[in-house]
Symmetry: D2
């Protein structure tokens, strides 16, 4: 058994990691940190884990012994303070914050508004989207887990970009459930504000923009241009990204489907379907992509559960690859369906 | 025209008052206080009022001139600091907090946890439920506007209590939309927490308990006993209170309906219906009551929009009575229906 | 008083019309038709109207006497069977279906799949969007009330198109509440299907496409191209249309705002705001528009209540203009805000 | 491996069974029936099963070979036509309908409105609530799976009834998500009707009443009386039953907790917690119970996911017991938490 720890065990992604790991067949969750809950039994805070864990929260990850692997589920800016010691100790890491996603340091500093203090590990970090970068992840010591919006958008966009059939210019109109914003109460996430509404926000300023641009650029011939507008919708889990491209040639739906099937037909977690559905993937690490040609445009959809394939499930998928485990171990569950 | 002011113009009940008053045919909203927004145009904060108001928030109600009537829409404990000066100035008041609802000072201090500092006006305050205390309200200088849970429960319970056909012992299982909890973000009101759940809370400790007991007692022969359990449900506006009584005699549905019709058939805002519906009253000052006999029990339902009949609409109804205006002026709107 | 009738009084738009008209100061709702409810009191079906109406449903509008004005709130294909007799009788009409919206008969027959049988009145029909076609509506005997998606999109798009600062090519990613789909239960509108999801549908086949194209064309120099993708979101009332344009020149947010203010600053119901909000307009005839420049693109938002400004409220606004009444009569209410 | 079939593979309980069984370590799902989908691949209808199943729907269960176990997930009245042949063939059965729940045939015929045609197997059927009837289930050939409301109520009520500390008279105010009503669209389940409301229904007529009474009676000294009022709430999965009892003696919260812990402390799926939470159990076979003393009353809460512990998960739990498998096999997953 591999001993695994989580830094930041009370936030939504840390909590979701503990949910997944507690039934993982090949690893044992032996440490969760939480400043405010240190000393408390994990099941007293996360009652959904009753029967699955008997450990207590610790204050610092350095209080844990014999860890083989650590997930960093802290806010950005904090992760880069935690990672160096882990790496020095030979512990492999998946970071779920934004700290190791952008290879371009200046982009990081511009979008996040502070210096990056761990350039060494930043240069080693692999972008953890297994369906597109599986081989690199297998050999990595540190993986930067993609953001939830970014994952949904990139899964939908990458095959079209790679195939060269669309213009470089893409409009991404994304809709996210509220858990994507984290567990800290705020006016926008207050139920009376968002419970019967749809709220566009962070237009032109959302930190997933450079991440999507970076990922999309890896697949495009010249520099692509991303127009990204996120909207908050009144569901808890789930993202739908609607991505609009202009076709360079006259293609029909069957031809577009071919492009996606070529990319994903052998994937366990990503499925091209006629009608992508949040309910079909919610609670699971599966994602749906779909598309529809409209004149000389094509709209591509990427759908996933933001806490699983958009965060903690994908992080476990990366861990599995990094540790040489079965890729689907611990995340081999279908979506809820209803 | 009567000049009206609101103390506490940014909270949900203050905001709702401004929504109602801005189209009231007989009064003019001339002052809204807000510490954090003082100086800002009201429509810059409440964009839904665009076209309906051109005033700006003021810091203190004493900055306003020529007020004839004031609504106090502050948290409890604050209202009793504002009311004396208003009363001294000969301004009539409706207080929407809990400060003037409980005639028993010791009950107030027990449930609210602090001293009451305005016993003089407390003794004058009339409980503002027009369908049950209309005449007293007409002559009042200060009215304590009932709480939202209390209004829904009392409208359903009072006719049965008064008729003497039920035991004094009542169980009230109440369900409220999230706007009832106010505009301050909190973990329970965070969308990912409450958006797909129902959450019982404040069991045995909710401050509407003594208020319901007091009101119910006014109608019962001996002291009644109220078991009140509030639940938060994922809707924004609306309350349904399900009130369970034991019948003292063998009555059928038609006989129970008679009891309600005797009480409410001439009321404009309270309707006995077979299937009480939140959607039928939401956005309006109307309330539905309904009932069903089950063996020797009867369940009575009280349904209303917590921000209108459960707060600001009822407050305006009281103001109309206090000022000798048409009781339905400014609140003469049907519910949304859909 | 003007006597007004509604053909189709049980569907959502007919029901909403009755809600609005029952407090209209200048007209009296004297007739509602409903095949299934003929003979029943209106308030037995629409309990939200208790206290506001004492009429009963009739089977056919020809059973009503002395009507001065009729709203046709039937499905498309039915309306064109009702309108000729009304027009022949000198009764002015607002049709809320799609039957009289498309001036191009061949477009109608292509998108709706059946012949148009009332070409005479089709040629007279005016497209009922008062903020853009007020003068024509004033003189009209028959008005085709715009669709809800179309209204939200056109209000956002028209000022930019007219100003000539954007390319003719627009992508409209629209999100609608469920009441927009009408009152007939269906698998997609079943709560377990749509209650925690967002569902794109009718891509490339939705009947508002030719309507939006037609309206947008009126304002553009050459033929514009509309890519329209509607999504169903789990709210009851409300539409947000996010409309993406490419800027032809380098404009900033303030310059775009100028364009909108020039168009709408004097309008009572349409407001340019920084953060358009469904909650601010829900339950009212008001609409919000907003915009944000993102590089060489601009996203424009149109927000409204699909049953009011997107249907019945706008229909009443048109009626007011056609009858020479005050334009805001009966619809002079702010949005709910919360 | 044990071969398992499902009769009624498209409804919500059949669909949920397929979701659970597809990752069950000890059984193989080899047959799903569906009249409307016969011949189609299961994954074309249930897209959430992509990667988990390659079988196609069959029309009749008799078309399947070598079945060892069958779940009957049909409407009541249909199940009793299917069960005899299965039992004759030596196939063990869990029936998820109401056909085999009521031991009293006359009660069945009164509440369901038709004759029971399989009295032989009815007399053999064991009520499948493992935490209360585990030993009987282990030896059964046919198990009647409890209803969702009944399971939530009985788990909360049974310990108090058994302990003798409460009166026999219980009021159950239950709130259910919409998936409990099944997949057939109806006016009440139409999103615009139920999406922002709470709707009491089937008062005094709901078919879970005799079932709850029967189960509760098993634990009470004299005949108990159940007042059951179900309410529909706008969530998809989840039930909260609030059960009100009068205490016969003066007990405090700690003493009540003792009673529950005595019953459930060794259970894997049922947990006594201070704040029962739908989110903590949703998506899992776990249930929460909680309680609070209020004067001489006690309110007990039962919380579960109606499709898992309230239906298909519990059915699999019963199957595991009947087949001598590990009781938690295939359902060993924590709730979603968020």
């Amino acid at each position: 058994m591999t001993n695994v720890g989580i830094i930041g065990g009370t936030g939504y992604t840390g909590s979701e990691l503990s949910r997944i790991l507690c039934t993982h067949p090949d690893v044992t969750l032996t440490a969760l940190t939480s400043r405010q809950n240190a000393g408390k039994k994990v099941t007293d805070v996360h009652t959904f884990l009753k029967g699955y864990s008997d450990i207590s929260f610790i204050e610092n990850i350095s209080d844990a012994k014999d860890l083989d692997f650590v997930f960093v589920a802290t806010p950005h800016g904090v992760a880069m303070n935690e990672v160096p010691a882990l790496m020095d100790a030979g512990i492999k890491v998946v970071d779920l914050s934004g700290d190791y996603r952008l290879h371009d340091v200046s982009a990081y500093e511009k979008w996040y508004g502070h210096k990056h203090t761990d350039l060494e590990n930043l240069s080693k970090a692999v972008y953890g989207l297994p369906e597109l970068f599986r081989d690199k992840i297998k050999g990595a010591d540190i993986v930067a887990n993609p953001g939830c919006y970014a994952t949904s958008a990139i899964l939908a966009c990458a095959p079209l970009m790679k195939s060269g059939v669309v213009d470089e210019d893409v409009i991404i109109d994304a809709k996210s459930g509220t858990s994507g914003a984290g567990m800290v109460p705020s006016p926008r996430l207050h139920h009376p504000t968002c419970g019967e509404s749809i709220i566009p926000y962070s237009i032109g300023t959302h930190r997933h923009i450079p991440e999507i641009e970076m990922a999309v650029d890896m697949f495009s011939i010249s520099h692509s241009k991303v127009t990204f507008v996120p909207h908050l919708i009144p569901i808890i889990r789930g993202i739908l990204s609607s991505c609009y491209f202009t076709l360079k040639e006259d293609l029909d739906n069957a031809e577009i489907e071919q492009i996606y099937e070529k990319q994903y037909s052998k994937e366990f977690f990503v499925h091209y379907v006629k009608e992508p559905s949040i309910r079909a993937v919610v609670g699971s690490n599966h994602a749906h992509v779909g598309s529809q040609v409209i004149g000389n445009k094509v709209v591509a959809f990427g759908v996933l559960d933001n806490l699983v394939k958009g965060a903690s499930g994908q992080a476990v998928q990366c861990m599995n690859l990094m540790l040489g485990l079965k890729e689907i171990a611990g995340i081999n569950q279908p979506g809820l369906g209803v």
